[in-house]
């Protein structure tokens, strides 16, 4: 290939020839766009979690706001179980709850799996994170022990892939089936004129069943037109 004096052109030509058979796969752009979209969703999810943590309110898909309703003081914690360890079936999730088009699931925990903190402590932890984002009644619909899996709440690896933080994570789920979340401020499509001031829908708060610490909350509340 080279003479004793070898020249740069020969190496340049050789380099090009050595890789001339290599071509980018035709679906590379699609792959990159899909991975980029997953990354962006993970960012949004993380930001939402931070926002929820900071404000303790539920967020509908198109609304952001801060509740001024403080009702949780009416919750009677003594009505909730203080039992730790082997808890009865009525404190456990019995059927799988699917949210966000399957990206988030709350599934029943095996009988052998038990929380290290009680139902009562979990609810107290939830309530300690700010105003319960519901009006017209503070008590949650249920406080149940289950396994949390959230494919969208993820950390991004150096190579660009994402790995979910919560997979079958033992969790206390604070459930409000018809949470009424007041809306004030934030972006609403169509401008602020006559915009809804209330959204309604399911709201879930998650408390780590091992430590009792607040994890995050999600909701699927929908703005309700003003009367």
């Amino acid at each position: 290939m080279l003479t004793e004096n070898g020249d740069v052109d020969a190496i340049r030509t050789g380099l090009h020839a050595a890789v001339s058979h290599i071509a980018a796969p035709p679906d590379l752009l699609t792959q990159v766009r899909q991975r980029h979209a997953r990354h962006q969703r993970a960012i949004v999810t993380s930001v939402l979690a931070v926002v929820l943590f900071a404000s303790g309110l539920a967020i509908g898909s198109e609304t952001l706001g801060r509740t001024e309703v403080i009702q949780f003081k009416h919750v009677d914690l003594s009505q909730y179980s203080a039992k730790v360890g082997s808890i009865p079936s009525n404190e456990r999730v019995s059927t799988t709850i699917v949210l966000r088009q399957g990206q988030l699931t709350i599934s029943p925990a095996p009988e052998a799996e038990s929380p290290a903190v009680s139902q009562q402590s979990a609810l107290a932890s939830w309530l300690s994170h700010g105003p319960a984002p519901v009006s017209g009644g503070a008590a949650p619909t249920s406080v149940l022990f289950g396994l949390l899996t959230d494919k969208e709440y993820a950390t991004i690896q150096p190579n660009g892939s994402s790995s979910p933080i919560y997979v079958q994570h033992p969790t206390w789920i604070i459930e409000y089936l018809n949470a009424e979340v007041p809306i004030s401020g934030g972006y609403v499509p169509g401008g602020s004129q006559g915009r809804p001031t209330l959204s309604v829908g399911p709201l879930y708060g998650f408390i780590d069943a091992a430590s009792g610490s607040y994890l995050y909350a999600v909701s699927q509340t929908v703005p309700v037109p003003n009367p």
Partner: protein, 178 residues
């Protein structure tokens, strides 16, 4: 309340990928000499470029080249921390037996093996200077080293490649003579 919203990728990003991904992949291959790693590096490079597209779109080629080199260095460092890969690397460094491949394959294979025997910094300079045809200043900018370093790496890298390729050429000639 302010939220960080995803950056939008327009058709200019698609155009960039469609136009330059093959060249990026070839560069990555020459830097790593492993097609699987090269493909991974290109995906990483394009993803990072996409994430910073608002900045990268001003000079996407230069931006992606720098990302690619950095990703390649990360991989290099990771491999060096793994003893089993050091062994496989040594094994790969053997020049193939002359005559075991067709002439063209030997040429390509020999050249990539010669590249493999260069120091990583020399290989980077050789690839940027003589495959991507960057000038000394551009190469220095991508590698974030002084221009003098680029020149010395290029000089030593070329000299080393000449030695290796000449040795292979002589060995091949001897084999043909027999």
């Amino acid at each position: 309340m302010t939220m960080m919203m995803p950056s939008r990728l327009g058709s200019d990003f698609d155009d960039f990928v469609n136009t330059h991904s093959t060249n990026l992949l070839r560069s990555a291959y020459l830097l790593t000499l492993d097609l699987g790693h090269a493909q991974d590096l290109v995906q990483i490079t394009l993803l990072k470029t996409a994430r910073h597209w608002s900045v990268a779109r001003r000079a996407p080629e230069a931006y992606s080249r720098r990302v690619l080199v950095n990703a390649s260095r990360d991989r290099w460092r990771a491999l060096r921390r793994r003893p089993q890969d050091d062994q496989s690397f040594s094994a790969q460094c053997e020049i193939p037996e002359p005559g075991s491949y067709s002439q063209q394959v030997v040429d390509h294979e020999t050249l990539t093996q010669a590249l493999r025997l260069l120091e990583q910094s020399q290989r980077e300079v050789i690839v940027l200077r003589y495959f991507l045809d960057l000038n000394v200043a551009e190469t220095a900018q991508v590698l974030r080293v002084p221009e003098g370093t680029v020149k010395s790496h290029a000089s030593r890298g070329l000299e080393r490649m000449r030695e290796l390729l000449l040795r292979e050429s002589i060995e091949r000639g001897n084999a043909d003579a027999h």
